[in-house]
């Protein structure tokens, strides 16, 4: 069970990280990045670090994402090539 969970999570981590890199729409990239952070949160919760998991969920996924949103609203949403 644990191994299955690990395998799924680790795959998800790599998938989200690569999608952040590939997304052209910056808003989408930020949303995927928060998904990446949240996946990380689950992994840490699972591995005996609930404090870190909560902080990452609140600060890493929450506050950081909001700050990115504001910046995108004030700058641009498309990544040019």
């Amino acid at each position: 069970m644990s191994d299955v969970f690990d395998a799924v999570m680790l795959t998800l981590l790599i998938a989200t990280a690569v999608s952040v890199a590939r997304a052209r729409d910056l808003l989408a990239a930020v949303v995927i990045f928060s998904l990446y952070s949240l996946t990380m949160t689950l992994v840490w919760q699972h591995r005996g670090a609930p404090d870190v998991a909560m902080t990452e969920a609140a600060v890493g996924a929450g506050v950081t994402t909001v700050l990115f949103f504001i910046t995108i609203a004030r700058t641009t949403r498309r990544e040019k090539r």
Binding site: D51, M54, T55, A58, G62, V66
Partner: protein
């Protein structure tokens, strides 16, 4: 460009991989990390600090000095954002230093136009507004629970700070940043945003008086210890929350 980037990444990756695969296996109970200084924290942490949550014990007691400067780091972020020039129009009369550099710096496209094109500033739907205002007190209670139970359960000052900031930010999105900024009176603001470092400095001085060591906690008096710890947590939650919220407000306006 792409190829060079890949090459650089590989160049960095190789030594890192060599480094990590040669570390002791991380799960093993006899790894140095589980036989080093951590042993004492696990064995005597509760007795020495009164915190059942040893992460809190490490953060506030054993390595409180790190946490002191961690809250200084987020204060630095706020000072940094406040020190940056604001607005997009060049100041009439100008500052020579700036002008000398940037006289030829391409008259920027007005930011406002870009903003409208992105659809920012669209009014929030009434349902969202209602839900946010309804949720705010509950979120605040959740934050307080985290704050005051941080020594026995996961959570603590920083997590509470982030939730407090989230409340501010959510309200800011619904009511507009100006209304939220009014929640904190101008006279209090400089004190509140420095609450965390100031709490640390105060506790450090008190600890100095009580135990003779900077930031020392009286290990034999659990009540005093708990009170000091709680004071720090409240300071962190308050100061951290105000700073994170202020960062949002400064960037929004």
């Amino acid at each position: 460009m792409k190829a060079w980037s890949l090459l650089l990444v590989l160049l960095v990756a190789l030594p890192l991989v060599v480094g990590v695969v040669n570390l002791p296996t991380h799960d093993a109970p006899d790894a140095p990390i589980h036989t080093g200084v951590g042993v004492r924290y696990l064995e005597r942490g509760v007795e020495e600090t009164g915190n059942k949550n040893l992460v809190t014990a490490v953060l506030l007691n054993y390595r409180g000095f790190d946490t002191f400067f961690e809250v200084i780091v987020i204060f630095t972020a706020l000072a940094a954002v406040l020190a940056l020039p604001r607005g997009s129009a060049a100041r009439p009369g100008g500052f020579p230093e700036e002008a000398a550099h940037e006289a030829d710096g391409a008259g920027g496209r007005p930011a406002e136009a870009a903003r409208e094109a992105n659809g920012a500033g669209v009014p929030v739907s009434p349902v969202v507004s209602y839900v946010v205002r309804l949720m705010a007190p509950f979120m605040a209670m959740f934050a307080l629970a985290m704050l005051f139970r941080g020594h026995v359960t996961p959570g603590g000052g920083f997590q509470a700070a982030a939730v407090f900031a989230a409340i501010f930010i959510a309200l800011g999105l619904v009511l507009g940043p100006a209304r939220v900024a009014e929640l904190v009176p101008d006279d209090w603001r400089p004190w509140l945003q420095g609450a965390a470092p100031l709490a640390f400095a105060l506790i450090a001085a008190i600890g100095w008086r009580l135990t003779g060591a900077f930031l020392g906690f009286p290990t034999d008096d659990h009540t005093a210890q708990e009170a000091m710890g709680l004071f720090l947590e409240v300071g962190i939650a308050l100061g951290g929350g105000v700073i994170l919220a202020r960062l949002f407000l400064e960037m929004e306006t």
